[in-house]
Symmetry: C2
Subunit: 174 residues, 2 copies
Amino acid sequence: MQNDITLLQETDLFKNLNIEQINKVLDICRRVRFAKYDIIMKEGDVGDSIYIILEGTVEVIKNLVSSEIMEDDYQESVKNKIITKLDEKSHAVFGEISLLDDCKRTATVRAITDCEFYEIKKDNFLHLIEEHNGLGCKILLNLAGVVSKRLRKADEDIIKLTTVVSIILRESSS
Amino acid sequence: MQNDITLLQETDLFKNLNIEQINKVLDICRRVRFAKYDIIMKEGDVGDSIYIILEGTVEVIKNLVSSEIMEDDYQESVKNKIITKLDEKSHAVFGEISLLDDCKRTATVRAITDCEFYEIKKDNFLHLIEEHNGLGCKILLNLAGVVSKRLRKADEDIIKLTTVVSIILRESSS
């Protein structure tokens, strides 16, 4: 139990929570298992739960090329990119964007070993926040911070990509 | 005063707040004016306040090309892009990302008419959330939703850009 408390406190989503508050989060956590190669979530699907890795390793895969435009074989080699691998040492939480807006998964997550997670359902999460506003504020501030960090990263990627396109256009016009 | 209440309730950041809660937000709002062509915030600068448009129009400008890589004249024509124009009818709040993480402005905002705004300082905002957790949860859930919507938009832009780069690479290799 002490291990679980420390584990949650070390995630970006549940940092700064005291032990009493972490225990309230643990009350809505359910242990779930996935086998090696199982798909835990699929990009574009509607999802209503978040996961915290307890044991095992997953890979996060994102579609990087519009399949409407590139329908041929070439596409397959560049379409999907493994963004990162996560294990219990990463103190990783994933699926948390689905707690907000339209719930669509922003990436595919696949188990590359047998895995065990804590799963939290969106309804239970929102109920917890409503019942315990002090705890809710801390988690939501963390959540907004997690999303904003990803937004900054995405903005940097956009600058890199438009720079590449600009260089190519300049080369081809000269 | 009723106008101000309605105005705040129509923003993405303060929607779902009741009149009592909106009044608490109004207590930390300060009216500020900017003249036509004034820069309200500059991309990359550290900022500690958010703005709600009461009157006037602004443009939001983002740097889209890395200035480290493209240092010549060509750069100027593609570097900065006006992303959008906002006025009081947009029910626009801007600068809210600086309430999170490292406070760096993610875009430049410039007045294109004389403008009047409500300004909220980060310290007052965080203090309000701490003092009134119920109100805090509502605002933070809205804030996380705003940021997550922008993240989805940025992710879509990345897919479009990588698609363009992939097409160019395919053309040049064939």
